[in-house]
């Protein structure tokens, strides 16, 4: 298959984000609509039910560098969250600890990352983790 250039890919994702993806529990969009390079994105994840995260909305920043989608985006939580893959000092998601980032494929998208993070929140191994109070942030 032909390689989709970065800008086309991101436009595609932008449009998808605008329409809302999947069941709407994850969402993303350009942080600044004037940003023609489409580098900075906002994301939100609605905490999965039956977990500490239920009914919480987590905000993230996604940074799509110039080599996206050949390389994974950098992802960072704004809302405080306790997950093994999240650096507790900065909120950054450690790419080595989240499998979709560690084993990045060109076909993955920001949606892939958000969805996997949400799955992490729901996973049984992380369920027992104590979570910081709702609304606290890293920044």
């Amino acid at each position: 298959m032909a390689k989709v250039p970065r800008s086309f890919r991101l436009l595609e994702e932008l449009e998808k984000g605008e329409k809302g993806i999947g069941d709407g529990t994850c969402s993303y969009g350009l942080a600044d609509s004037e940003d023609i390079m489409m580098v900075s994105w906002n994301g939100t994840i609605l905490g999965p039910p039956n977990s500490y995260h239920e009914n919480r909305i987590y905000s993230l920043l996604i940074h799509c560098g110039n080599d996206y989608p050949d390389m994974p985006p950098q992802v960072r939580f704004i809302s405080r969250i306790n997950l093994p893959c999240v650096n507790q000092e900065s909120g950054e998601v450690d790419p080595r600890k989240l499998s979709c980032l560690a084993h990045w494929k060109r076909t993955y998208s920001m949606e892939t990352v958000l969805v996997e993070l949400r799955r992490e929140m729901a996973s049984s191994s992380n369920r027992k983790l104590r979570q910081p109070p709702e609304g606290s942030t890293y920044l």
Binding site: E18, P49, Y52
Partner: protein, 400 residues
């Protein structure tokens, strides 16, 4: 600034559309406006759009809300802010019992509303049924943006168009005034554009020949693909609306699909034939006939302008949309078997309103038998390929 139409999505797969002026409307005002129809009190509403939690005092414009945008509404779990550590609160407990009634896998077709908190536990996988809800509104539309841009689909379409027997029957059909009446009657959008000129045009064999010319179709398709990119680049302008109509309601999918699923009982439609045989032999050559086609400009001023200027011009948008709509109607009508009459047409329309998992039931089963077990992926592939199992397989394999 004029009003735009936006969609509020709530309770996993419910939708409500509202018209607002993004410049004037604050988030607070929007919440007031949707509280009743969505049965969600303002104080429990949380709105999310493109990665932002919308703040009450901001206007929608500040969040770049525009025509066709979808805003997600979540219901706050408990009225009082829950202490983070208090996991066993009653509110959470009730939510949990509610979620127990929401099946995690299959029962997507039950219309019972589930609360936002009760999306299936495995919602990490995008819920196929929720996704399909997106397409519920306009029938086959919504859920498959980019369908017309899908190369496989284009190829199939081109194959069909270059099939002489197809052209023949198309022409027969078009020369029958009754057929036009029927088509007009079956779709209000069609009716509105059935001006006398239009009618005349359709009854002129010369025009029809040009319209059905494979080169012309190919040109249109190429334009559409091009427009996909172009309009995408103009997210901030109203041109976004230009992009959507391509995947608009009453796209041929509904009709062709019915054709497929009923193919046992129905004499094999020519559409599948054309698709399977001709697309193989039909070389996807560049749109040679594009430049010298006199009707392109006439039929599609907006598109032509959009291409020349490299930017979509909004005023023209209605026109190509309508033209495209018409084209899709024609194809749809053909899919039902030429001259099938009003019953056939309305059946096609009704069917295209079904959720994809119904519409593509047969295809889904086939895919399953072939070892593609991921229902959500299967549905996505079928939507993208318009229910063509062969193309869907190719799609699935190429997206592994």
């Amino acid at each position: 600034m004029p009003e735009v139409t936006i969609t509020i999505r709530y309770k996993a797969r419910h939708k409500h559309t509202v018209s607002v002026d993004p410049e004037q409307t604050t988030v607070q005002a929007l919440k007031d406006q949707i509280a009743e129809p969505t049965e969600t009190p303002v104080e429990l509403q949380r709105l999310i759009f493109m990665g932002n939690v919308l703040k009450d005092e901001e206007t929608l414009q500040n969040y770049s809300v525009q025509d066709g945008s979808t805003i997600q509404l979540f219901r706050r779990g408990a009225p009082a802010a829950q202490p983070a550590t208090n996991q066993g609160s009653t509110a959470a407990a009730t939510d949990r019992s509610a979620s127990a009634t929401s099946p995690g896998t299959g029962g997507g077709d039950t219309p019972t509303p589930t609360t936002t908190a009760t999306s299936p536990p495995d919602a990490a996988l995008p819920n196929p049924f929720a996704g399909s809800g997106a397409s519920g509104l306009g029938g086959a539309g919504g859920g498959m943006p980019g369908m017309m841009n899908n190369p496989m689909f284009q190829e199939a379409m081109q194959g069909m168009m270059s099939n002489p027997s197809f052209q023949q029957s198309m022409q027969n059909m078009m020369s029958n005034p009754r057929m036009l009446e029927l088509m007009a009657a079956s779709n209000p959008q069609m009716a509105s554009m059935m001006t006398p000129q239009m009618r005349q045009m359709f009854q002129n064999p010369e025009v029809m020949r040009t319209l059905m010319d494979p080169n012309f179709i190919r040109g249109m398709m190429t334009l559409q693909s091009a427009m996909g990119g172009g309009a995408g680049g103009q997210q901030q302008s109203p041109a976004g609306g230009l992009y959507n109509p391509w995947a608009s309601p009453a796209s041929p999918s509904g009709a062709t699909t019915t054709n497929r699923t009923n193919s046992e009982s129905q004499p094999a439609g020519a559409a599948p034939d054309g698709e399977s045989t001709d697309s193989a032999t039909n070389p996807t050559s560049p749109p040679a006939g594009l430049q010298n086609n006199p009707f392109l400009g006439l039929f599609n001023p907006g598109l032509a302008g959009g291409m020349g200027g490299g930017e979509a011009n909004a005023p023209g948008a209605a026109n190509p949309a309508a033209a495209n709509e018409l084209l899709q109607q024609l194809m749809g009508a053909y899919g039902m078997g030429a001259g099938a009459g009003s019953t056939g047409l309305s059946a096609g329309e009704a069917n295209s309103n079904e959720p994809p998992e119904h519409r593509y039931q047969v295809q889904l089963q086939q895919l399953n038998e072939m070892g593609f077990y991921d229902a959500s992926k299967n549905i996505r592939a079928l939507l993208a390929t318009n229910g063509n199992v062969d193309a869907a397989i190719e799609y699935l394999l190429s997206n592994l």
